[in-house]
């Protein structure tokens, strides 16, 4: 009797374990690159929060898979002949998750909050004379003078996207985080199930009215095809891979490149590059101190380095990277190699000649190395080796990324806690033009870390921002690219893509500049 009871109990226990392992129907379980800690996409530029933003909020305009700007919440828009007056009309049927209709007033408040935080938003707002909502569906923007990046700003993907929020939320002080998470996007955030460090949950927004066009990138009809999306935070890369192989998650956003062969071997898993624009590696100079206070010495780095060695060191498989001798990302509208063909060839003779011409006195380059980010850690040793062959003295200083982030804010000389250069990477969609690419900001003290100071560069960027003709914009972007050779602010060191890995029962993934989880089905 005891034995029978024991067997029954064992069976019941086994069944309960099995039930625990069964996936819920029509639930998409994804493991992303980071944990969702902050849920205000205007307050932070963290990529994970941008992903969250695209789940629950919508945008007036969006980029399609070819990085072309398309209306999203906007039904139609028009601009006056002098480009000073812009009118945007919202689509019919847009609704917030709480059931209230989306109004132009909501959008005006949202643009203003974003415009107070984001660099590109601030630039746009500096041109805006009036932003008004003459009726519930019309947004009217009046400019003080013509500005060529109105659409680019409103369609901006990447860091700090102009997401639309209800007016009462958008009126939150831009320096403080929002406390209510109501959007009008294809998914609804289940705040009560969100556990930072564990998971975030989204439900299908059944009232969402998608555009009629097919989905393309972040534009077109955003149709949620699963009932529930769970973001499961798995900190350890190997565990992420194991969880996908074991079917505990359906999709990995960013499996490390060195583990891709393991995933490629599994017959149930496929790899997919969702963001073909990828990321661009770069070296950033501190122009305040020797040796990089001299533009010619900075240019010598362009001759000393080569992109292949650097990309091989961090990505490895050439399938996932491209050498790209363009300041603006390859594959983007402003791509150009003009003036850059002979750079990044490890031409040590030319680099040495430049150093001699510039009077390089052997001051060591304090090169900060981030050791805890796999895609960056090997860049510095390779750069050191190549630069030393060209005659530089390089002192690689290893630290974790957060220490690097802190130290790069210091303007002290390298031997007093400052720095000379560091290597990093950018999402290509964040550097599509001279205004968006913050490393090109050369406004001295107001520029980002490295503090380049070049009136000519600022003149070109300003001209670009005022230009409305795409052909002339392209010419100005090329002028910026050429100016970088005379006054290097930073140097691009090649581009790479980050494949997603997913189980084969997941279909409908979209190529997009940011993670798009609509249109996906779990079979």
């Amino acid at each position: 009797m005891v034995s029978r009871s024991l067997r029954l109990a064992t069976l019941a226990f086994a069944a309960s374990l099995a039930l625990g392992a069964t996936a819920t129907a029509r639930t998409l379980r994804v493991s992303l690159h980071s944990d969702l800690k902050i849920v205000d996409p205007i307050w932070t530029t963290a990529l994970i929060t941008v992903n969250h933003g695209y789940m629950i909020y919508d945008t007036l305009f969006a980029l399609d898979e070819k990085l072309a700007i398309q209306p999203q919440m906007v039904d139609r828009y028009e601009t006056s002949a002098d480009k000073l007056s812009w009118t945007f009309t919202l689509r019919d049927g847009l609704e917030w998750h709480d059931g209230a209709p989306v109004t132009a007033e909501d959008c005006v408040a949202s643009i203003k909050r974003w415009g107070a935080r984001d660099a590109m938003g601030q630039k746009l707002m500096s041109y805006v004379a009036e932003l008004a909502a003459p009726d519930v569906k019309t947004i009217r923007m009046t400019l003080k003078e013509a500005y060529g990046l109105v659409m680019q700003a409103l369609a901006k993907p990447g860091a700090s996207v102009p997401f639309m929020m209800p007016k009462r939320i958008a009126e939150t002080d831009p320096q403080k985080q929002i406390t209510e998470y109501v959007g009008s996007g294809p998914f609804i955030f289940k705040a009560d199930e969100w556990r930072a460090g564990e998971k975030a949950v989204y439900l299908k927004n059944t009232k969402y009215k998608p555009r009629a066009e097919p989905p393309s990138g972040l534009a077109g009809g955003k149709v949620a095809k699963v009932d529930r999306v769970e973001w499961i935070w798995i900190a350890d890369a190997q565990t992420q891979v194991n969880a996908l192989i074991n079917g505990e998650v359906d999709l990995l956003e960013a499996p490390p490149h060195d583990l891709l062969p393991l995933l490629a071997e599994d017959k149930n898993i496929e790899l997919f590059v969702f963001n073909p624009a990828g990321r661009q590696n770069a070296i950033r100079f501190n122009v305040l101190h020797k040796p990089f206070d001299n533009p010619k010495i900075r240019l010598a780095v362009a001759y000393a380095l080569n992109q292949k060695d650097l990309l091989d060191a961090v990505i490895g498989n050439a399938r996932w990277y491209i050498e790209c001798k363009s300041l603006f990302p390859c594959g983007s509208p402003l791509q150009s190699t003009r003036g850059w063909d002979d750079k990044f060839t490890s031409d040590f003779t030319k680099a040495r000649a430049l150093l001699q011409e510039a009077g390089y006195d052997g001051t060591p380059v304090a090169l900060m190395q981030s050791t805890d980010i796999v895609s960056l850690s090997n860049l510095a040793p390779v750069a050191k080796s190549l630069m030393e062959k060209a005659g530089f003295k390089v002192d690689v200083q290893a630290m974790d990324w957060q220490t690097l982030v802190t130290r790069r804010t210091k303007k002290d000389p390298p031997n007093a806690g400052g720095w000379s250069a560091f290597l990093t990477s950018w999402a290509s969609v964040d550097i599509l033009d001279p205004v968006a690419a913050s490393f090109l900001n050369a406004s001295c003290d107001k520029a980002t870390f490295g503090w380049p100071c070049d009136a000519e560069m600022e003149k070109l960027r300003d001209a670009f921002s005022k230009e409305t003709d795409p052909a002339r914009q392209k010419a100005l972007a090329e002028a910026v690219q050429l100016r970088v050779l005379e006054y290097p602010t930073h140097l691009p060191l090649g581009q790479y893509v980050q494949p997603q890995a997913f189980r084969k029962n997941v279909v409908g993934l979209l190529a997009a500049p940011s993670l798009a989880l609509w249109n996906i089905e779990v079979k």
């Binding site: 226990f13 309960s16 374990l17 039930l19 625990g20 392992a21 944990d35 800690k37 902050i38 849920v39 932070t44 530029t45 963290a46 984001d118 660099a119 860091a159 700090s160 320096q175 985080q177 406390t179 556990r195 930072a196 460090g197 564990e198 499961i232 935070w233 798995i234 900190a235 350890d236 190997q238 565990t239 194991n242 969880a243 192989i245 074991n246 505990e248 805890d372 630290m399 974790d400 957060q402 220490t403 982030v405 802190t406 130290r407 790069r408 804010t409 303007k411 990093t424 950018w426 913050s438 003290d445 107001k446 520029a447 980002t448 870390f449």
Partner: protein, 313 residues
């Protein structure tokens, strides 16, 4: 005894004060600036300075300390710089997974290691003894993450018996809770099994030659009773010390195990907070760990009296 416990508890106050000063200074003296991390890649120096000001990080270090310490005395551990929650809420939310993992680990470790150690002592010099001691050396030597990945490969990926990762709260179902706790707690228990088994063997061997063991055998006691009722009980004090130390050491072990198995406990919280330089969270978690450490030591001292009546405080 009661007076002793009160005196020991009172003695924790200066210990906690020293820990508080030490943790605060260590964090402020190590490189890293939460303001720069919050500001992100596009920020300029002015924006970073504004954030630093809003967090109070631009005030003199002593002012920062006294504000923080004054708040702690009022039971306010502050608000995380990154999570929009108070540190107390964060810690409470992460307590259950770490407690569950620690308790399961100790239960497994003690229930496996003590019999193994007694067995090894009883079979001293035999193959069984050598196997147990061999396992002990291996358990010490192999890093926790290697054991974790190996168990995942075997039991999750190859046999598909258990999940690779994750944690289910006990309130969401006991089956899932247990299912997700098995691999991490077995992984973490290996080193403690090794430690406790070795200590048990040594302690039991020490008492096996005593007169009362011979007397028990002479009275016709069965060997298992001799071993567990007479030998083990008299060998208990050093074993309890090691178990107490083990519980304290668990604090370090859970950090790695929680990372490998994606358990959202205090270990992960500590790692995340350190990486993000989330000072209020790091300070509170370390204070909590220190307090637990002190309490475990006290508990071990009290338990001594249960096993050895000669010990009195």
């Amino acid at each position: 005894m009661f007076g002793y416990i009160l005196r020991r508890l009172a003695a924790t106050a200066p210990v906690m004060l020293i820990v508080a000063v030490f943790v605060f200074l260590m964090l402020r003296l190590t490189p890293g600036d939460p303001a720069a991390i919050i500001a992100g890649d596009n920020a300029n120096s002015e924006q970073v300075a504004a954030i630093r000001n809003s967090l109070g990080l631009d005030q003199p270090i002593f002012t920062q300390f006294f504000i923080w310490f004054g708040n702690i005395l009022r039971g306010d551990f502050g608000e995380s710089y990154f999570f929009k929650k108070t540190v107390a809420e964060l810690i409470i939310g992460r307590l259950e997974p770490t407690l569950a993992l620690s308790i399961a680990t100790i239960i497994i470790a003690v229930s496996v290691a003590v019999p193994l150690g007694v067995l090894a002592a009883y079979k001293q010099g035999t193959l069984i003894d050598k196997i147990v001691m061999g396992f002990s050396v291996l358990g010490f030597s192999v890093p926790v993450f290697v054991i974790g990945y190996s168990l995942i490969y075997l039991f999750a990926i190859k046999l598909n018996w258990l999940p690779v990762q994750g944690y289910q709260r006990i309130g969401d179902g006991f089956g899932g809770f247990l299912q997700r706790l098995i691999l991490p707690s077995v992984t973490l228990s290996v080193i403690y099994i090794a430690l406790i088994a070795r200590m048990t063997r040594t302690s039991v061997l020490d008492v096996m030659g005593e007169d009362y063991i011979r007397t028990a055998r002479a009275k016709g006691q069965v060997e298992i009773k001799v071993l567990f009722r007479h030998a083990l009980k008299n060998a208990a004090v050093p074993i309890i010390t090691v178990i107490g130390l083990g519980i304290a050491l668990l604090i370090g072990g859970v950090v790695v195990t929680e990372s490998v198995f994606t358990i959202p406990g205090l270990g992960r919280l500590t790692v995340d907070a350190v990486l993000a330089r989330d000072y209020p969270t790091i300070q509170a978690v370390i204070l909590l760990f220190s307090f637990v450490y002190v309490l475990i030591n006290l508990l071990v001292d009290v338990i001594y009296t249960l096993f050895d009546p000669r010990i009195r405080y």
